[in-house]
Symmetry: D2
């Protein structure tokens, strides 16, 4: 049972509601004697936090993380690492308007039906605010992996589709991604995307997005078939992110349309190096990493809170309607990039440790 | 750690290789006092077994299941249910040709790299033969759920895309699905599909497929946020099936292209009944079932074993090539339908029991 | 893997070192809609905290608990409950004297050998300070169980042996236990015990203790054979407490000396009530609760930190010696009473929820 | 949730009832490339099987184990190892006499109350027959550990108390243990024990026993504090064995009576070797192995099925009585020796693998 815990070996447990005093997580199973740089954890959190550009929500979140345990003289000790982020922007706003209504596309209805009670302030536990905790956990996993595997290990994510607009992933450019607010990997489309998104914002509407995350330098052999396959755990990880509705590994859903000749990645050997002619498999065969780049993409549905009036019901079973007033986020998918990266780090470290136990490698 | 176990509460552990003496599974956590009909378990297995039409592999597998424990006088006792299927068609074929080669698109390479040893006969543990065990487990889950929830609970899967050919899911017809060998839900496309598939078969090629599985009568409130969300576990379940590369919940990857107005499913109340105007969410909001139909689809890549020569390497690190001779399976996706149904049953029962513990409902 | 998590359904994860900024725990799987009284949680913590009498250590710990998440308007919401206790008495004492030495009987040596690093201040993670977190978790479990089962459910622990001095458990008196600082259940021995303990304290020595914990009002049917037996989980729970070296269920180790005639508890029926003639089984048969009082006892070894000089080695592999100066705790077992009670609550609630899922009862 | 699974990394799942067609287990997480000697597995099973001397039950069980999966060319492959033991001696005896009665001291009552149904034939799932499966799992763990650690690793168990008769554990003699049917370690008491046990047998009575299991060559550093401590898992393991009511680590319950001076094991260094002056800790400090001999003992209650008439009730809530007729087992504790050894192997391997993942050692 792991209601609020992710991972088997490198595990993190998150807690907290968007409008409680704090949120946080406990990381368990982190290897000892790893130098932790808290500034680098904070940098990952900064990538996720809202209010940074005109393209995402203007809600200010400080997202300052503190470590409460598990380190000694700057190094991990093998004991649980507790991190806390105090909630700052939880002004005592008036929730009278929405406290009894179920916002369509949100989990208001299902939480209420399941638990019979819910903290409606800002979505409570359903809020994407929870993802800050996992970004912190992922930042630790990243440092551990870079310590173990070295700098050849890296993970980078990007938005590869913004609403109805795609991009050319052949033009993927790492450094360009880090320099634009939309995590767009393709220089040639950015301007168009920006214009499109501002239009959506102005209209009070929203759009979805597809995020692609790539991991490089992952050793061959990670993944425990049959029911802890690396792709299972990655699919599970990405699907756990708020508003995600689909996950692809490599060619993903598109592989249905390929022929056998097109799909299976031919192999060849050049000296000590095994090469693959293509990477439809997304770096995973039979649930085990092949040493190729791991490629996962996932779809984030459009923000459900929009300005137009939507029909819904309230908790007394009456028909009503609802609309968002004031600031809104035209595309929640954008901020999902650092979250996807964090989940990738966590899954890979989890499997790295698992494989160590299973095969001694 | 659950290398070969699936589920948290209703759990099954599978074992066995395609060319060992037997395969099987142990189902743990099954509620007591449920009447089990072994004939119905066998019927589900029959749906999966190969050799039934000219469209799938001709390999004959008898797939006769036996129950070794966990029942008494026809009823479950709450103790583990062990099921066994003896392997019959494991003729001592000559594997000399492929024993040292890594078939592209298969897990030969990654298994060998991970474990340093592998049973190459028929794919060993990687073989899709393992899925027979989960179909048996799913058949038990189905009987339990029908016993608890009643006949309004049902799961049905279909092939909604065969290679490059789609179908109209608006024309989905349950009874038609059960009457054709391709699990095609749309009467108007079947002939075309058959012709297309026979062409692929004749050419020694293969194609992928998309499978859609629908569950009806699932109560509202199943799913344990945040890290045992119902959609996480469904994504994980489907991704565990051999050759699956992508998973969608409801509108899935396509939801990236929708606007907020199109996507979020408006709600209304009619008497005691809550209604949704649409089902882009696929019956899951915030990881919890909404009471709507649960809709999951997944892509199965084209069969990797094809007749044309493919470049690869062998375990000594030498370049070589490989091709399948004799019978082959033009679309492994077709037989994934009963497997997807089985996994759906298992996940739903798992969450049903979990919810019982968590919320007492 | 549950390095720092206890429980399967009602789970708590503890974190923190004795001399870090705080300790705490995250409780997951708590049923929703339960009224939580934070004052009652604090009362349980107060029972454990040191510095309350001349019989235990004089170290002052404030142990003030705060709830950071998981409740709304005074009720649980089904989301994780994060609790934090800030460390107050962590004066920057000089640890130079002991930082490189391995105290005999403590986990200094094994932690260092395992992790290659350790927080030596006050024992770090090994410190019994961690147990405050579980007392908090247990206090929640208690409130949940009293809410579900009612007031007939109760747990009470006592010291039944103090060093070489026993007591007559036939004279067990609940209200007397709550009124003396040694949790002694037998009025006739208290004075002797006090004198004995003061003598040990004055001599700078220490003694062990046996704690017995009794749970009443536990429903029949809790316990999941074969590998989540109620007695397994209770043994595991008690053994997890610092310095515990043995656990008995009912007659425990003593049952080896009984004859079959003496041991098995005869049954009879009086109206609707099933009666047992005796309770050698300690309320558990085949790993399942029988409805009788659950009786668990455990031995706590004598405090390892004593005033006499002890031979040991340091982390450089050199022979040396060590002794405690200043205040010491003559019997750590006494403060184990509320910890044992807390673990009992947690295990019973865990199994209560598990049984709900497994058998619907 | 692990109802019928033991272990976290090296895991085994057992299934089967005493009078079903077979029993068995699935071992998951076994490292690959380990040579498995099935004859050695059988030898361990032979130590447990009944009917071998006049001191235990005369019920004949063949206990012939077969491996159905997970090995290839004599070596483990890292995939699940399924083992099966067909039940041979399940003559269709008449159970009419006991089918509705709850035998005192047995789990008949609690199973029925929990599940509402039970297989009463020979105790069904409650039967100690299940332990054959774990002896098989333990035999695999033993071979793996001897392969990894080498021959210096060994586990040996003995009966150290038989009913009211103790022995001198200072006289513990490994080779003597293997040569007598009572697993008695002390040559000087065997004759007395035999006479005593024959007397009990003749009287139709029974007695309990204490078993002590010692593991040598266990590396320092195994055990994951705080909630997967090595002693927690050992206590849990031993408590899972049928009829066990108490578990000690090292001095165990007796440590309550020691003084701090007597109890804590002083350390010294001699060259590269760390030495302990005594072993009250039983080789475990803070839940982590210290490199000393691991010493666990546990009490087995007297056989509940005896020849004298016992009062009880039946499933209809009526008072009745019961007695065993024909052959009976005067001391079930004796056959617990190989079971305790098996559990020791399993726990140590589990923690060995865990530590590999956690600390890379």
């Amino acid at each position: 049972m792991s209601f609020n815990t992710f991972g088997k070996f490198f595990r993190f447990t998150t807690w907290g509601e968007s409008h409680g005093p704090a949120i946080g997580c406990v990381v368990d199973g982190c290897p000892p004697n790893i130098k932790l740089n808290i500034r680098d954890i904070q940098l990952e959190l900064n990538k996720r936090k809202p209010g940074q550009s005109k393209f995402t929500t203007q809600r200010k979140e400080d997202d300052k993380v503190e470590i409460l345990s598990g380190t000694f003289e700057g190094k991990t000790t093998g004991t649980p690492i507790s991190m806390i982020i105090f909630n700052k922007d939880m002004r005592s706003r008036d929730y009278k308007n929405i406290k009894d209504k179920f916002r369509p596309g949100h989990a208001d209805y299902t939480y209420f039906k399941k638990y019979g009670i819910r903290d409606y302030r800002g979505g409570g536990r359903q809020s994407a605010r929870e993802t800050a905790s996992r970004v912190a956990a992922g930042a630790i996993a990243k440092q551990v992996l870079q310590n173990i595997i070295g700098k050849k290990y890296s993970v980078i994510g990007a938005v590869t589709q913004l609403g109805i607009l795609g991009c050319d992933t052949e033009k993927w450019n790492d450094s360009f991604i880090t320099k634009n607010h939309l995590f767009c990997p393709d220089k040639t489309v950015l301007k168009l995307w920006e214009k499109y998104l501002l239009g959506i914002r102005k209209a009070g509407s929203s759009c979805g997005a597809i995020i692609e995350v790539r991991a490089r330098g992952v050793p061959v052999g990670l993944g425990a078939p049959i029911y802890s396959k690396l792709d299972m755990d990655l699919a599970s990880a990405m699907m756990s992110i708020n508003a995600v509705k689909g996950v692809n590994i490599g060619s993903g859903m598109n592989s249905a349309q390929l022929s056998g000749e097109q799909n299976s990645d031919e192999m060849s050997q050049a000296g000590k190096k095994t090469k693959f002619k293509s990477n439809n498999a997304g770096g995973i065969l039979g649930g085990i990493s092949s040493g190729q780049e791991i490629i996962v993409s996932f779809a984030v549905k459009p923000t459900s809170s929009i300005l137009s009036q939507r029909k819904t019901i309230n908790k007394f079973g009456k028909n009503t309607s609802i609309s968002v007033t004031g600031r809104h986020d035209p595309c929640v998918g954008i901020r999902a990039v650092p979250i996807g990266e964090a989940m990738m780090h966590c899954v890979i470290l989890d499997h790295y440790l698992m494989n160590k136990a299973q095969c001694g490698n």
